[in-house]
Amino acid sequence: MKIKYKEPYWVKFQWDISEHHDNQYVTQFDKEENDVFKDFLHKENYIITCNFKIKSHYKKDEICMVFGKPGKNLGLSYNQGTKTLAFEFWTKNTPDDTFNMVIFKTVTIKEIENGVTVSIVRDKNKITLYKNFIEDNSVEFENNLIDDYKETAFFLGCSSPDCDSDKHRYYGEMEVNHFSFLSKESNIEKGEDLYNTEIHNLLIRKYYDDILFLYDFKSVNNLNIIYDESKNTNFLEKVPTEYVK
């Protein structure tokens, strides 16, 4: 699915689908913020997998974020100037928090243009990056992520849409075909299995209950909400325009 420039999505809500409004169950009325997303990145084990492509002619900021959180930036960034794809995040420290950045060493511009699958795997205090499920780079860090991230939504197509500085919003047009989060897991083989398993066979996998979200970008309802194939109702919603600067 194409995410247009300055039309990001956010992972923030869960829907109550027990009742309907005029025969429709998933609307803007029956959602509430899901507390799970406050600290899901602070957990010790998880795998984020994303398949995306950014063509050279797509409209984008100098640095754009495939996904990320606002504030002191966290996310998967693509820097046009340096032509690098990296995962960056801040961890707690005194007196100043520490900035961590780990670059995908083998991902090329061509791959980004044609489509690439990347995974961010956290195993306690180590982040390992995978390209197409093959290890690419890793970084170790001392303390957990900063608490700022507990207050903000998780965006797809930017990192900070309401930031006052337009340079730090990191918008980008992109095509995303897979975006999933597997919690309680650091084994990339499980991540690869999740990526490759046909959706209807997922529920016989042992890790099924640990999939926090898995978006089917082909299933979009009439309010532009994207379907979550996990057992949850953490549907992906387009960020309302009032939150986009």
Partner: protein, 698 residues
């Protein structure tokens, strides 16, 4: 626009708008131009517009012959206050002639106008009660769902104009707008406009969108409410405790073995050959059925209708006696049937007929009575030897219900054709079942009759069952015939009922003879060439459905999207109608208790709810592709199956032991006879099969 009795309309804000009732905003002007003819059906007190609960609205009370304006207000620290004003300046004659009533409220005073002339002012600055906040404004009643009949205030009426403004508008201005002297878009009052409807004469809409502001829409209360069913049940009970219109209005005729029943709940009974020789309508008006009608009229409950008596005696729910009697093909004939002699013949309005058991499939849960292929297998190999004889022919022989062969001369079919020209004229719904109807010459004869008759019954809802697995020539022939019927507007609605219980090869295992890809390619072909046809996929949900049902649901959703158009009666081109298999019990999904997780069902329901639709009916030009999805009914049917699965948490698993053993025996014999290995088709069942084998030391 005509508002029918008991079918009021209500004003609803669109989903994207605030859902608060506009009258609760503080100031308003509400205008209604209407007429109530003397002969119109109505209650003793009738509401023109109103909000349910503690009422607000305008009405006419025939008991005292006064026009009424009433509303409730809230008062701090006190109880809500009822305000009721009556007027004799409006009477039955005025209503008959037609009038415009405007109620304008500026926050301090209510101004009441008849034909734009003031007839009262009411000073009252107290706010309206909060009860109105979430309730819609109804036209044609006050409180349709009230348990107190007197509070419903239902009427038939003609409505010409209805508008609401969220401010007090000068009456001169209102007059010039409502009489179309001024075009509303160009006025400053447009800013305060909430809705503005000028109605035409057409009465076949179900929803009308406001073309001016598009903030809200008027919707017909097209589903009978609980109260509606209550009314029907009261009417039935006034004749007799067992009175049911379906005994007259509905019939299923199994011509292939000479049996009939009304409705489908009682066991079919054999019709005597001598009866049909004398009277071909005995296919419906058999001696046995007339005896049941007699009992019904004499305040008795026929024993063959035990299904409904069980429901009525064990719960407060309505039984099918009420639901079927409330159908549009039943309810209008109440008086006619009530006053008829039980000995008289009656032409049904809803008829299902099966001409022959000839079928090219032998689905695992079907049998020789409805499938000639099954009959061949049973003749060759005998019944399946389970804990009982599965699909044996002994009972058929005892009851003399063995099917006529297709090539035989069937006197029941002959009687049908003798009766059909008369029957056809009075039918609301006609459905051809089987066997496989496309393999029966009589199906084609029916289609030719509909195509050729000089007096087509244009209100007919025509349905044909088909497995859509017959050869291409027959499918093309079906398309050609239906195309002729549609082009000439010879029926109101055309539905093809097909069947599928799973996806891909898993569906093919159960429905022996099915080529899944071919069937859906035929679905695609029919919906492409015949955009007015609706296809209903009847799914007999069984043990073999579970592991691929998600894919079937998703496939059907894709077809709904692909074949969207605004030409059909129904919203969707294809509808999934899921019911669960009860017989044979060894093929029921219930025997998988403790083996599968409820998450299977949750996933399907979640997907369907995510892709649910605003509407089940087609509202013509207002329909958008984004409105297409699963209807509440489609979702409900699957929710019901999940409920059964959950209820079984409490069931003693040993209850299924016999069925599990039968299941094991069945799949072994099935493999022997048909060469299909269950575990190969359903790897998900491998462990389940092993468990049964271990438990039974096989």
């Amino acid at each position: 626009m005509k508002i029918e009795y008991q079918k009021p309309w209500f004003l609803k804000p669109k989903l994207t708008q605030s859902q608060t009732n506009i009258l609760s905003n503080g100031k308003f002007s509400i205008n209604l131009t209407f007429k109530v003819d003397k002969i119109y059906k109505k209650d003793n007190k009738i509401g023109f517009w109103g909000v349910p609960g503690k009422n607000i609205g305008i009405s006419y009370d025939y008991e005292v012959d006064l026009f009424v304006f009433e509303f409730w207000t809230k008062h701090e620290g006190e109880e809500d206050k009822f305000n009721c004003y009556t007027y004799d300046c409006i009477n039955d004659r005025t209503l008959n002639k037609g009038l415009t009533i405007s109620v304008v409220y500026d926050g301090d005073t209510y101004y009441l106008y008849k034909d734009f002339k003031l007839f009262d002012t009411i000073v009252n600055s107290h706010p309206l009660i909060d009860d109105y906040l979430n309730e819609p404004i109804y036209l044609g009643c006050h409180n349709m769902d009230s348990l107190n009949v007197k509070h419903r205030c239902i009427t038939e009426m003609d409505v010409f104009h209805f508008s609401v403004f969220d401010d007090a508008i000068n009456i001169k201005k209102l007059e010039s707008l409502i009489t179309n002297e001024t075009i509303i878009d160009s006025t400053k009052e447009y800013d305060n406009l909430y809705c503005f409807f000028n109605f035409g004469t057409s009465g076949d809409e179900f929803i009308i969108f406001d073309g001016y502001k598009d903030l809200c829409f008027l919707k017909k209360k097209n589903k009978m409410s609980t109260v509606g069913f209550d009314i029907v049940k009261d009417k039935l009970d006034s004749v007799g405790c067992g009175f049911c219109l379906a005994k007259w209005t509905q019939v299923t005729m199994h011509l292939h073995n000479g049996t009939t029943h009304s409705c489908h709940h009682p066991e079919p009974h054999k019709i005597g050959l001598e009866e049909i020789v004398r009277n071909p309508t005995a296919l419906h008006n058999s001696k046995i059925k007339k005896q049941a009608r007699k009992e019904m009229i004499e305040d008795k409950r026929p024993s063959e209708c035990q299904y409904c008596w069980n429901v009525e005696d064990s719960s407060s729910s309505f039984s099918d006696r009420t639901f079927k009697s409330a159908e549009p093909w039943s309810e209008p004939y109440f008086e006619e049937i009530k006053n008829s002699d039980w000995r008289a013949d009656y032409n049904p309005k809803y008829a299902e007929v099966s001409f022959s058991n000839t079928c090219n499939f032998k689905c695992a849960y079907c049998g020789p009575e409805y499938s000639s292929k099954w009959m061949e297998e049973i003749n060759e190999h005998g019944a399946y030897n389970l804990s009982y004889e599965y699909n044996g022919t002994k009972r058929m022989e005892e009851r003399n219900t063995k099917p006529y062969r297709h090539s035989d001369d069937n006197p029941y079919v002959n009687a049908f054709w003798e009766w059909f020209p008369e029957l056809y004229e009075s039918l609301d719904t006609f459905r051809i079942t089987g066997g496989e109807p496309l393999l029966s010459k009589d199906t084609w004869k029916v289609l030719d009759y509909v195509i050729e008759t000089e007096n087509p019954n244009k209100n007919l809802k025509l349905s044909i069952n088909s497995n859509l697995g017959v050869n291409d020539e027959l499918i093309d022939r079906l398309i050609e015939k239906l195309d002729l019927i549609i082009k000439d507007n010879r029926v109101k609605e055309l539905i093809i009922y097909t069947s599928c219980d799973g996806y891909g090869t898993q569906a093919e295992y159960t429905r022996f003879g099915l080529d899944f890809e071919k069937m859906f390619s035929n679905v695609d072909k029919i919906l492409t060439i015949l955009p007015r046809v609706t296809i209903v996929v009847m799914s007999t949900f069984n043990i073999f459905s579970i592991f691929s049902y998600e894919q079937l649901i998703k496939k059907i959703h894709k077809i709904k999207l692909k074949h969207f158009n605004t030409k059909r009666y129904w919203n969707s081109a294809i509808i999934l109608d899921t019911s669960y298999l009860r017989h044979p019990p060894f093929m029921s999904f219930r025997i998988l208790k403790d083996y599968i997780d409820v998450e299977y069902f949750n996933r399907w329901i979640k997907y369907m709810k995510f892709n649910s639709t605003f509407r089940s009916l087609n509202f013509h030009k207002t329909q958008l592709k984004s409105d297409i999805g699963f209807s509440v009914q489609e979702i409900e049917k699957i929710s019901r199956i999940r409920d059964i699965f959950i209820t079984d948490y409490e069931t003693d698993i040993r209850l299924f032991d016999k069925d599990k053993r039968d299941f094991l025996e069945f799949i072994k014999e099935y493999e022997k006879r048909r060469g299909m290995n269950c575990a190969e088709y359903y790897p998900e069942l491998t462990q389940f099969i092993k468990n049964i084998e271990n438990e039974n030391k096989v």
